[in-house]
């Protein structure tokens, strides 16, 4: 299981990468994709949609389940990752390259953990 040091994590297993311009990329963690199994589709919001920290902004589908993905930050969707629609397996194969959305105009953030804290947290899950 992989826990990159440059990312921050939520208790609901999303990762967030803050860029220097103040925007943030968001995806689901290695632990999340492992628990969810083979992912087959992701429902993403549209560019310009508002997202709220701690609330669902997308969902991922496996064959027999669907799971909400919660936003680690409050802001506005600046970009969505269109690649995931055609190659949903990327979310399993490379979870930390598979950002779902980039969020800008960030005004709030959920409670976040660093890699070490998140690794300890997953061990207790």
């Amino acid at each position: 299981m992989n826990f990159p040091k440059n990312l921050m994590y939520t208790k609901t297993h999303e990762w967030v990468l803050f860029a220097e311009d103040g925007s943030a990329a968001v995806g689901i963690t290695d632990y999340a994709q492992d628990q969810l199994g083979d992912l087959v589709f992701v429902n993403l919001p549209e560019k310009g949609d508002p997202v709220t920290a701690g609330e669902s902004f997308a969902d991922v589908e496996s064959v027999k389940a669907v799971s909400d993905v919660l936003s680690p930050v409050t802001g506005e969707v600046a970009e969505i990752n269109e690649l995931l629609a055609d190659e949903p397996q990327r979310m399993n194969q490379a979870p930390y390259d598979s950002w779902f959305v980039k969020v800008q105009n960030i005004t709030d953030r959920a409670e976040l953990m660093d890699a070490e804290a998140y690794q300890a947290y997953t061990a207790s899950c």
């Binding site: 083979d38 087959v40 589709f41 589908e61 064959v63 027999k64 949903p88 397996q89």
Partner: protein
């Protein structure tokens, strides 16, 4: 297995119409330009094609089908005879009423019997399936509250053990869904219910016997709590087979019900439909029923009066078994389930170990921990014995669930055989678990790849790919 599009030859086919006895004409408007790539096959090819498909299909007539929650009982032959009468099949739905008196009488009688069995006062046969009946019933609740000026009653309470259709139907009817926890016995947690009801409660949807196969003994308490809060009680008839002729939803405090004629009343399911999901209600909701000529009616939920030929079959069934046969069927459905349950309980832990109704839920969680053999593996192993597996992974509140519903029309020999098969699978799971992951062995295909099917959906034949 070849698709019908991969059989035949261009230009092959049978003329079923003969020459036209009036002059041909050229009609106006824009014409189709794309080629119409339908099969070009001989009649014998059509016949053989479907015979082969039939051999690759398991129906109730092929073997035991204990699919929990689906009530796969025998579909009597006389029902089919009645439904094939030209006096029923050749009647146009918009014929003048006096030329369809027999059809109307079929519906009137069936509605009457279903009202008596459910304790309801009125019934509509319009809904075409159970989920359609749920949607209809919830619209009655919505229209009723609206007519009464009850603003703000916009929440429907649904136990967490409910079928997925319940919350989906509530949502389609514009309600917000509030999930109510089940207690450790699988029953509604009364404290949670009491805490959830209020001035925003539109109603409660309940399946009783519930989806773990138990009759909730607190039923009168439950319906009272909802009524006192100003909500209505909705009865999901999916499991009526256990109690028909024994107890009636109308006497338990329910205001609206739906039934599944293709489960409880022996009509066949046709590989996914047609079904029929009549909506019944108490007097005060009657003006809201679909298809009624009242200002309060919710309108129509489908074009004509309903899946009429399904109603014909259900009526034939009720005429055959009659007042004595209805409770007798229920009791034997329950007896068959309990018989299987006690014969399996020592190896397969029951999710709720007590006398069940028409079905029971086993948890294979322990088996999986011990051997790695899952509910899915056990189900697939049953296929090699000519048995359709029980419902898997439902209800969601039980892990590694297998839900078994034998129905009343199975013989004791069949039940004994199925018990032996399941016990054998348990033994095999301990002796050679690896082998079970590779089953079934006797079917035309084995464990299709559902992941790639969903990742790269191919949902129609690709004619171009063949040419290229």
């Amino acid at each position: 297995m070849k698709l019908i599009f991969e059989k035949g030859r261009p230009g092959r086919g049978t003329d079923y119409l003969g020459p036209c006895d009036v002059p041909g004409i050229e009609i106006g408007g824009a014409k189709r330009e794309r080629p119409l790539r339908l099969p070009e096959v001989s009649e014998s090819e059509v016949d053989r094609h479907y015979s082969l498909l039939a051999r690759h299909t398991h129906g109730v007539n092929d073997g035991f089908y204990p699919l929990g929650s689906c009530t796969m009982k025998y579909n009597p032959a006389v029902n089919e005879y009645a439904a094939s009468l030209p006096g029923f099949t050749q009647v146009h739905p918009l014929q003048e009423a006096d030329t369809a008196a027999g059809c109307r009488e079929v519906c009137r009688r069936l509605e009457g019997m279903l009202c008596e069995i459910t304790g309801m006062d009125d019934m509509s046969l319009q809904p075409a399936a159970g989920a359609h009946g749920e949607f209809t019933g919830l619209l009655l609740i919505k229209a009723y509250h609206r007519a009464m000026g009850h603003t703000g009653r916009n929440k429907i309470l649904v136990p967490d053990s409910a079928h997925g259709t319940n919350p989906a139907s509530a949502s389609m009817a514009g309600f917000e869904v509030v999930s109510i926890a089940s207690d450790e016995n699988g029953f509604v947690d009364l404290a949670a219910l009491q805490a959830a009801v209020g001035e925003d409660t539109a109603g409660l949807m309940l399946t009783n016997p519930n989806t773990v196969g138990l009759f909730d003994p607190q039923i009168l308490e439950i319906t009272r709590i909802v009524h006192e809060a100003g909500g209505l009680n909705y009865y999901d008839g999916a499991n009526l087979n256990a109690i028909m002729g024994i107890a009636r939803p109308g006497d338990m405090g329910f205001d609206v019900v739906h039934l599944n004629l293709h489960k409880t009343f022996s009509t066949p399911h046709g590989g996914g439909g047609p079904g029929s999901g009549p909506s019944g209600c108490k007097h005060f909701l009657s003006p809201f029923l679909p298809g009624k000529d009242t200002p309060e009616s919710i309108g129509n939920v489908r074009s004509f009066g309903g899946n009429f030929l399904v109603a014909v079959r259900a009526l034939a069934y009720l005429m055959t078994i009659g007042r004595e046969g209805v409770p007798d069927a229920a009791k034997h459905a329950v007896l068959n389930a309990n018989y299987m349950r006690v014969k399996l309980a020592d190896l397969f832990p029951m999710a709720y170990d007590r006398i069940c109704m028409h079905e029971f839920v086993m948890s294979l969680e322990k088996l999986k921990e011990e051997t790695g053999v899952s509910a899915l593996d056990a189900a697939k192993a049953m296929l090699d014995h000519g048995i359709h597996p029980p419902t898997m992974y439902f209800p969601l509140i039980v892990h590694e669930a297998l839900m078994v519903e034998p129905t009343e029309t199975e013989t004791r020999e069949t039940l004994d055989e199925a018990v032996e098969v399941l016990r054998g699978i348990w033994q095999a799971a301990h002796d050679d678990p690896e082998r079970l992951h590779l089953l079934p062995r006797t079917t035309p295909v084995r464990r299709p790849d559902e992941v790639s099917a969903a990742r790269n959906p191919r949902i129609r034949y690709d004619f171009e790919a063949v040419r290229g």
